[in-house]
């Protein structure tokens, strides 16, 4: 099996392009966030300056309405750029798949990239249903960081799979893990937003109960997928390693993450535990990230497919 280096190069260019576009989107979300904050502070100034001219259609003070428009425009532009970025990002994965004639999640670089795409697509789907673009910074920041790290420190040249990974289970098990991780990333971002919103530090964010519901709904989609990913992994392990469960570090931490998210669902079902539940959701995301980086790179185990170093 030979690698089509031309396609692989195009894939790398698309990857870099996607990171740049996401970065621009992130900056615009930052503008949206900052402008919104000024707006939140503005009414007091206006009131002090004399609220007599206030009317219902025209908010007093040109600067205020200007920044609000700027915030909305920046938000819209950010979302448009995110859509563009997702398309380029998808092209990068598709080209990589074509270049190596296999699924594009065979090493850690590709895995990280696929997770980010899953997260961005989840985010865009949620944006269609809910007006939550104010959360953009919280979603795109981890995505950009993860993509940048994957593309620099963890970059792996296009290459065929090692024998252990040549099984149709890679299309099932790893795909499920990618989807679950991507959706949980967005859920975690929503929970971080919720915690900041309820602590009163980020008034510009969407309403707290919207964020809470967003996190919950993303998690109840991802949790069964994650469960399936673990079960599919166990079935594959039975075929590949001779046992369905062997407390391999990756298996163990995947189970720990599962237990933490199970804890989140129970805590969220308990009245008066919304903030506690949000903290648990953030802890779950921390375990997922730990599983991605630390267990792959530092701990040695059966799952050492990072292809790094």
């Amino acid at each position: 099996m030979t690698v089509n280096t031309t396609l692989a190069t195009y894939s790398d260019w698309c990857y870099a392009g996607a990171v740049i576009v996401y970065l621009l989107a992130l900056l615009l979300h930052g503008v949206q966030f900052a402008a919104g904050r000024r707006r939140a502070a503005a009414p007091e100034l206006v009131a002090a300056g004399g609220g007599g001219q206030a009317s219902t259609t025209n908010p007093p003070g040109d600067g205020t309405s200007g920044t609000r428009d700027a915030a909305a425009t920046a938000g819209r532009m950010a979302v448009s750029l995110t859509v563009l970025g997702a398309m380029i990002h998808g092209a990068s994965l598709l080209l990589r798949a074509l270049a190596v004639q296999r699924v594009p999640w065979g090493n850690m670089y590709e895995f990280g990239s696929a997770i980010c795409l899953a997260a961005v697509v989840t985010w865009l789907v949620l944006l269609r249903r809910h007006r939550v673009s104010g959360l953009g910074v919280f979603v795109l920041l981890p995505v950009v960081i993860l993509l940048f790290t994957s593309g620099t420190l963890l970059y792996t040249k296009a290459a065929p799979l090692q024998p252990a990974l040549r099984s149709y289970w890679i299309a099932i098990h790893v795909f499920a893990a990618v989807i679950a991780s991507g959706v949980l990333l967005v859920a975690g971002a929503a929970s971080v937003g919720y915690l900041m919103r309820t602590s009163g530090r980020a008034e510009r964010l969407p309403a707290a109960d919207v964020l809470d519901r967003l996190a919950y709904r993303a998690t109840i989609v991802a949790f069964p997928v994650w469960t399936f990913a673990i079960i599919a992994g166990a079935i594959w392990a039975e075929t590949a390693w001779g046992r369905y469960w062997g407390w391999d570090p990756k298996e163990t931490v995947a189970l720990v993450a599962w237990v933490v998210y199970a804890g989140y669902l129970h805590a969220r079902a308990t009245a008066g535990w919304r903030r506690g539940a949000a903290w648990i959701n953030v802890a779950g995301l921390a375990v997922m990230i730990f599983n991605l980086f630390f267990v792959n790179l530092v701990v040695s185990g059966f799952h050492s497919y990072a292809g790094v170093g």
Partner: protein, 549 residues
């Protein structure tokens, strides 16, 4: 407490009940879940005896101060530790304590009628009202037709209003219960597999090497379940006919394949005398072992899990006798398969142990499948056996094989070297076919390379039940997270003659019992149909629609 037996008894009962309530509360379950997650972490972060005993010893040598404490706490064997078992057993006791009453509640709830229509429907999260021309009874009859698939109950209130109460989504709780019971089943079947299963590894030389699953001693390492004593293993034999490894030009492996012959229980025949070798009953059947493609034989599975090289040496002793040996060396570099090992020889024809212990030989050093010399230092540039070479020390003396100490097959007993009873008599690099001569005239010749494969045999009688439990976990989870338990009420009240009469006020209300999100759309659709007031509902918008968020 005055100490009367009754008081003591009731005190004990009360404290037991409180303990039980505390144990089965959600808060306790959450804390136990958290402890389970926390407790599993050292199992992932610290080396574990069960996975890699050598790594544990290395860690203990590097961290001499903290290791004894960690060891005593069971941190190097977390998943067999008492405290870890305590956490998950308490969790599952708590789970049972929660599930049993919930199951009973659920069974009762299945037979109960939907809750009567609340007096004030406008206080519900979802609400709508309209006035229609249909009779109250017609409205409720149409509503019940519409609410097919819902559990409904109809009532007539003293005021003359007709009501329908409906509830749907009972499967949510069923899914929830299935999920939790399946988790219990998963734990139990996992444990049964650990009790009655076994796992063993063995290295077999390609080119005719054989392995028979006859007992513990056939294995290089064997991990039996508590209820396995090594007798009555699944009978089968495997013969390693050939092994092929393919590599990419950069040395990355592309595929591993072992061509084997095997005899399973059927080949041995069922007769008490066993099978006759070579007869029809004892025939070898061909099969191919690859990574991700094990051989499944009744209860046992055979896996190809590793491979390596066994350099073959022929020693010609001064009296002209020859001995040939090829024993597995282990790779020290997994990408180039540079390997190390020790091939040991007893002098032939020496019966006196004292004499023998002075003239034993060990050939130890490095083997490279594709030799690359940096000066005289041997390394390997490719994992396939293109240009094999060895860099060896030949040691003579007492190997210590009769000392009573166990020793590695990959090395010599260093204490013998240090005490001067095992002495190096030669050091040389040899290409394939080259030889060296020792001071006493003994000739050591590197005359071939064989491949070895390492096989794993696994047996787990409960694993299909584990899979079934896991699938039930998934199905229950899917049902409990995707189905919403929700209620819907209709009240159709006639307008009295004094107020105009002839019309009916229809009110509908809705309540999602779990997550409110998503019920709104369904409610709006249902409400619209009910509020039309037609005996035969069809699509359309009601006269008035008010929905309270």
């Amino acid at each position: 407490m005055n100490g009367s037996p009754n008081d003591v008894l009731s005190g004990v009962v009360a404290s037991l009940r409180n303990t039980w309530r505390g144990l089965t509360s959600m808060r306790t379950a959450l804390i136990l879940l958290f402890l389970l997650a926390l407790g599993a972490l050292p199992g992932a972060l610290l080396p574990q005896y069960s996975l890699n005993a050598a790594a544990v010893q290395r860690y203990q040598a590097e961290h001499p101060t903290i290791s004894p404490l960690l060891d005593r706490l069971g941190f190097f064997d977390v998943f067999s530790a008492v405290w870890f078992a305590a956490i998950y057993l308490l969790l599952f006791v708590s789970l049972v304590g929660c599930l049993v009453p919930r199951s009973l509640d659920y069974a009762r709830g299945l037979r109960a009628r939907p809750v009567a229509t609340p007096r004030n429907l406008s206080r519900l999260p979802h609400h709508a009202a309209a006035s229609v021309t249909a009779e109250p009874a017609e409205v409720t009859a149409a509503a019940r037709r519409l609410l097919r698939g819902w559990r409904t109950a109809e009532a007539v209130e003293p005021s003359g209003a007709h009501t329908v109460s409906a509830e749907r989504g009972y499967l949510r709780e069923a899914g929830n219960l299935v999920f939790h019971f399946a988790l219990l089943a998963l734990l139990v079947t996992f444990a049964v597999g650990k009790l009655y299963g076994y796992e063993g590894q063995v290295i077999v030389l390609a080119g005719g090497g054989q392995f028979c699953n006859s007992g513990l001693l056939a294995y290089d390492s064997f991990k039996p379940g508590i209820r396995v004593d090594g007798t009555r293993l699944d009978p089968f034999c495997v013969r390693m006919d050939g092994f092929t490894a393919e590599y990419e030009p950069n040395g990355q492996p592309r595929s591993f394949q072992a061509d084997i012959g095997y005899q399973d229980a059927a080949a041995f025949g069922a007769g008490p005398a066993g099978a006759t070798v070579g007869g029809a009953a004892g025939a070898w059947r061909a099969a191919t072992l690859r990574v991700n493609h094990p051989l499944r034989l009744g209860g046992a599975r055979v896996y190809l899990i590793g491979h390596g090289y066994a350099p073959r040496f022929t020693v010609t002793f001064p009296d002209g006798q020859q001995r040939t040996s090829a024993i597995q060396w282990r790779s020290v570099d997994t990408t180039t398969l540079l390997s190390e090992g020790a091939t040991k020889f007893d002098p032939p024809g020496v019966t006196d142990p004292e004499q023998r212990r002075q003239r034993q030989l060990a050939i130890t050093g490095l083997f490279a499948p594709t030799a690359f010399f940096d000066g005289a230092v041997l390394s390997s540039s490719f994992p396939a056996p293109r240009d094999p070479a060895v860099a060896i020390d030949v040691l003579r003396g007492d190997l210590g094989t009769e000392s009573g100490r166990g020793q590695s097959i990959f090395g010599v007993d260093q204490s013998m070297v240090e005490s001067g009873r095992l002495v190096r008599v030669a050091r040389q690099n040899l290409l394939l076919g080259e030889q060296l001569t020792l001071d006493d005239g003994t000739v050591v010749r590197f005359d071939g390379v064989q491949q070895w494969v390492s096989l794993q045999v696994s047996h787990d009688p409960a694993q299909q039940w584990v899979l079934l439990s896991a699938l039930c976990v998934l199905a229950g989870l899917g049902a409990s997270l995707s189905i919403r338990r929700r209620r819907f009420w209709v009240r159709a009240a006639p307008i009295t003659e004094a107020e105009g009469g002839g019309r009916t006020v229809v009110e509908v209300g809705g309540l999602a019992r779990t997550d409110q999100a998503g019920y709104g759309e369904e409610f709006t659709r249902l409400a619209a149909l009910v509020l039309r007031g037609d005996p035969e509902p069809s699509r359309g918008r009601p006269a008035a629609l008010a929905r309270k968020e």
